[in-house]
């Protein structure tokens, strides 16, 4: 019976776990078509499908299907402008695949229909087994051409799933493909965090019946317990230069914020009071740490200067503000309780203006895409957690329902290129 169960679980893993559903599209998505230049190859079709899906997933593009086209030009010269204007198409993306020797390169050019002219031409160098990733690079290039913001199709997501009592820490491509299990455990795993060079991760594991922080090298799987203690150690946060890790621990009796130098293991204690201090996050310049503290009687966000230890309170609105992280140097994203619901909100540090960004209930664990424009968070509907997201500039919202079990604790990779 045990064996059957195992096979069942393993075979499940071949499916992409992240299926994205757009819940609210952009008001005016950009309409494009993607065609293979001077060819109609199988690999070309595969690439076009990956790119189309990437762009559709943003909610900011409408990609015409082959059977919606009025004419199919093989190259820019064959474009009948009238046909495309009639369909209200903004641009045609021509893809060229160079499959020589052991390389698989993709060239692409963006042909603007109203100007009747090629606007941009780029090339992505890859290998046959990196076809998906090469295609994502093309998607990101197209996204940036139209929106001026770096695309995130080539980034990766880390998250925790739970099926019966097996917890898995997983990373996958941002479209859910190429799923890799980093840690499989009988105990909870929370607060996964990417190092800024994307080579290591840190997380909290309860495998020894209490919260402990481990770092893990992605390539080798080598794990390291960052601090051996009888007390709980949790909430790891990599410093911008990856040399230090901020964390929360009750090792001195009460939950406080510490910073450990990962090389010499020297620990600095940052907070000192009888309240809960937890959930540290670094400012982009690495000089400050923001954290959650209930020293005022309810959880609120504070900021501390790592060198001078000067503190100031950042949130004033509401009775529950927690798990903050920097969106940019002037804005933070946090979990805010509004009336009875917990939502994701942003706070402008200059104007102190708080904006609630989500309308689902019991939202937590917000993580920000490396382009600073998309937030994924964990939410709950019924008894199961799933992931949902919002695009800050286009207001597109989407969800990533778990195909089985629970899906929670998302963490977005930095740019991997």
């Amino acid at each position: 019976m045990k064996k059957i169960l195992l096979i069942f679980i393993i075979s499940f893993n071949f499916y992409a776990e992240l299926v994205l559903e757009i819940t609210e599209s952009a008001t005016k998505p950009i309409k494009i078509a993607i065609l293979e230049k001077n060819n109609n190859s199988l690999v070309g079709q595969e690439i076009i499908e990956i790119i189309s899906n990437d762009l559709k997933r943003t909610g900011e593009f409408e990609v015409l299907a082959f059977d919606e086209l009025l004419s199919v030009p093989l190259n820019e010269k064959e474009v009948i402008q009238r046909d495309w204007l009639l369909l209200d198409v903004d641009s045609i993306v021509f893809i060229e695949v160079q499959n020589e020797n052991t390389d698989l390169d993709i060239s692409y050019s963006i042909f603007d229909v109203s100007y009747n002219d090629t606007e941009d031409k780029r090339r992505v160098l890859g290998l046959p087994d990196s076809l998906r990733q090469s295609s994502h690079y093309v998607s990101d290039g197209i996204y940036k051409f139209f929106y001026g913001i770096d695309g995130i199709s080539s980034t990766r997501l880390m998250y925790v799933t739970r099926t019966s009592n097996i917890h898995r820490l997983i990373i996958s491509d941002s479209d859910g493909f190429n799923e890799q299990v980093l840690l499989k455990s009988n105990s909870s795993i929370i607060s996964p965090a990417w190092s800024n060079d994307a080579e290591q991760i840190a997380y909290v594991s309860f495998e020894n019946n209490r919260a402990q922080v481990f770092t893990q090298d992605l390539a080798s799987g080598k794990r390291e317990l960052i601090l051996s203690s009888k007390a709980s150690v949790s909430s790891p946060a990599w410093s911008p230069n990856d040399k230090e890790l901020a964390f929360a621990s009750t090792k001195d009796g009460n939950s406080e914020i510490y910073v450990i130098n990962l090389k010499d293991k020297k620990i600095i204690r940052l907070t000192e009071n009888i309240a809960i201090d937890t959930e540290p996050a670094w400012s982009p310049d690495g000089k400050k740490i923001i954290f959650t503290s209930d020293r005022s009687g309810s959880p609120q966000i504070y900021e501390i200067d790592v060198r001078t230890k000067l503190k100031r309170r950042l949130t004033t609105e509401g009775s529950y503000n927690a798990r903050a992280s920097f969106l940019n140097k002037n804005e933070i994203v946090l979990v805010h309780r509004s009336a009875m619901d917990f939502n994701i909100a942003s706070l402008n540090l200059n104007t102190r203006e708080l904006s609630v960004l989500t309308s689902t209930k019991n939202d937590e664990s917000p993580c920000i895409a490396p382009n600073g424009n998309v937030i994924i968070y964990s939410t709950k509907d019924g008894n199961l957690s799933y992931l949902a997201g919002i695009n800050l500039s286009s207001k597109v919202s989407f969800k990533l329902p778990a195909l089985y079990g629970e899906l929670k604790e998302p963490a977005w990779s930095p740019f991997i290129r």
Binding site: F206, L218, E279, R323
Partner: protein, 165 residues
């Protein structure tokens, strides 16, 4: 015609232009760590049974929302525990703190540990040695009721007390 000419010219220009931006694709490699093969389920052998069933807490103490103060209705049970422990100093008590699912996981972890600590503080105040008490916080990770309503939440905001050897 003019348009086509321009586009042909521009295509020529683009082809002639050797500075097409080029990117190289990186593929990440990772390795799986599997603890489930070696990891034992939390052993129940360590728990001393005093007329309680296997894996069941000796006493469960409930708390209010975002609060770690002991309720008056918990005190009689805690006095009973205190009496038991003082009469037999071999007993070691494990106090597990828990939180409901509302709010963030990390804050709940700290809150749950503070609940467990509140139990410890009460017992030490009544004369039990803190050497005989172990405290651990599990946050919202181990709910007794996974539903999302006040009834479930009120059951999940708890400290569970076990006697261990």
């Amino acid at each position: 015609m003019k348009n086509i000419l321009i586009s042909i010219l521009s295509i020529f220009f683009i082809f002639a232009c050797s500075s097409t931006p080029v990117e190289k694709v990186d593929v990440q490699e990772t390795k799986t760590v599997d603890l489930t093969a070696t990891q034992e389920q939390k052993s129940d052998d360590d728990v001393v049974m005093n007329n309680v069933e296997v894996g069941e807490a000796y006493v469960t103490i409930l708390f209010d929302y975002d609060d770690d103060t002991l309720r008056e209705d918990s005190l009689s049970e805690l006095f009973e525990i205190s009496r038991l422990m003082k009469s037999n100093s071999k007993y070691t008590l494990l106090v597990e703190g828990h939180a409901d699912e509302r709010g963030t996981r990390e804050y709940n972890l700290a809150l749950s540990e503070r609940r467990a600590k509140a139990v410890e503080d009460f017992l030490t105040a009544t004369g039990v040695s803190s050497f005989n008490i172990e405290v651990v916080g599990y946050g919202e990770e181990m709910p007794v009721d996974a539903k999302s309503n006040e009834d479930a939440w009120s059951k999940n905001r708890r400290a569970e007390l076990f006697f261990i050897k």
